[in-house]
């Protein structure tokens, strides 16, 4: 059944992602380029390395120092995180870091899969389009009261990251 914007938003709300912006598109199957997998892997690594500018969202992910470094160096994703295409490649989405976002695998990425699969056969499909590179639901991103632990932790990590890249 074709979803209206309101009904699509209601489903997202029921999945505790009421703050997730949605965009609509008319999906048309596209031929996957022969080298899509190689380009996809490369784009994933570039995307991970670009997350240095998402320091505020990274702070809410409660990463260990090792996970943080592995992520920003493009080596490995932290546990329970997924990189998703904003517009799927099979519907013409570009294989580019600009067409990617990161979120938790469980429950968010799994629920987004269900949300999109549930629209199978519809002329218009609603797709999640988070404003930032990392989606963290508003209800989990609220800060605690006082304390500078997060700020200290960020400063420490940023210094280490800069050192590992030979930056000053």
């Amino acid at each position: 059944m074709q979803l209206s914007q309101a009904s699509a938003e209601k489903i997202m709300k029921d999945m505790c992602m009421e703050d997730m912006p949605l965009i609509s598109m008319q999906p048309t199957p596209h031929q996957m380029p022969a080298d899509w997998f190689t380009r996809y892997k490369k784009a994933r690594h570039s995307f991970m390395q670009s997350l240095g500018e998402s320091i505020e969202e990274l702070a809410f992910m409660n990463l260990s120092q090792e996970e943080f470094m592995d992520l920003l160096m493009g080596r490995a994703l932290p546990a329970n995180t997924s990189i998703r295409m904003r517009v799927p490649i099979c519907w013409g989405g570009e294989i580019s870091p600009d067409n990617m976002f990161m979120c938790s695998t469980f429950p968010h990425s799994q629920n987004i899969d269900r949300f999109i699969i549930g629209q199978a056969g519809n002329e218009t499909i609603w797709l999640p389009a988070p404003a930032k590179k990392i989606y963290i639901p508003a209800h989990t991103a609220g800060g605690g009261e006082g304390g500078n632990a997060t700020e200290d932790r960020l400063a420490q990590m940023a210094a280490q990251f800069a050192a590992s890249r030979g930056m000053e």
Binding site: A76, T81, P88, C90, T105, F106, D113, I117, G118
Partner: protein
């Protein structure tokens, strides 16, 4: 590929292997799946569960009869939870999802044949007669 070869390989690659559930838990899982239009557990997967309750390899997951807890991270759901959530989807009737990564779901049918499915359209992309081959593809794509 045998179960032991498969487990040795992924242990070597640093995957998280969940402890084996009880025989009773495996039998109950099979019975619940049968009751929800999914495919019953093939013998090979029941035997796999007798040694391992699921695997996490980066963003690649093999679901097991019990949740896989990971400290403060959200636990990996059970094979029952995953299939219950998706039981209303017609393309999955007669199939049971047993794994996922960022691109694909992996499912088996009532004949024990495994499939790689597109994670958004559920279109079958590859067919496997050996479930360990399917699990290897599922987990390998978890670390790209």
């Amino acid at each position: 590929m045998t179960r032991e070869e498969f487990l040795i390989e992924f242990r070597k690659r640093g995957a998280l292997l969940a402890p084996a559930p009880s025989r009773q838990n495996i039998a109950t899982t099979g019975a619940i799946l049968q009751g929800m239009q999914a495919a019953m557990l093939p013998t090979a997967l029941s035997e796999f569960y007798a040694a391992c309750g699921g695997i996490v390899h980066g963003a690649g997951y093999i679901f097991g009869p019990s949740e896989i807890s990971r400290g403060t991270k959200h636990p990996v759901p059970t094979i029952i939870d995953i299939n219950r959530e998706m039981s209303h989807i017609p393309a999955l009737h007669g199939k049971t999802i047993f794994g996922r990564n960022d691109l694909f779901f992996f499912a088996f049918d009532a004949f024990g044949v495994s499939y790689m499915l597109d994670n958004l359209t559920l279109r079958p992309l590859r067919k496997y007669n050996d479930i360990y081959h399917a699990m290897t593809d599922c987990l390998a794509a978890g670390k790209l």
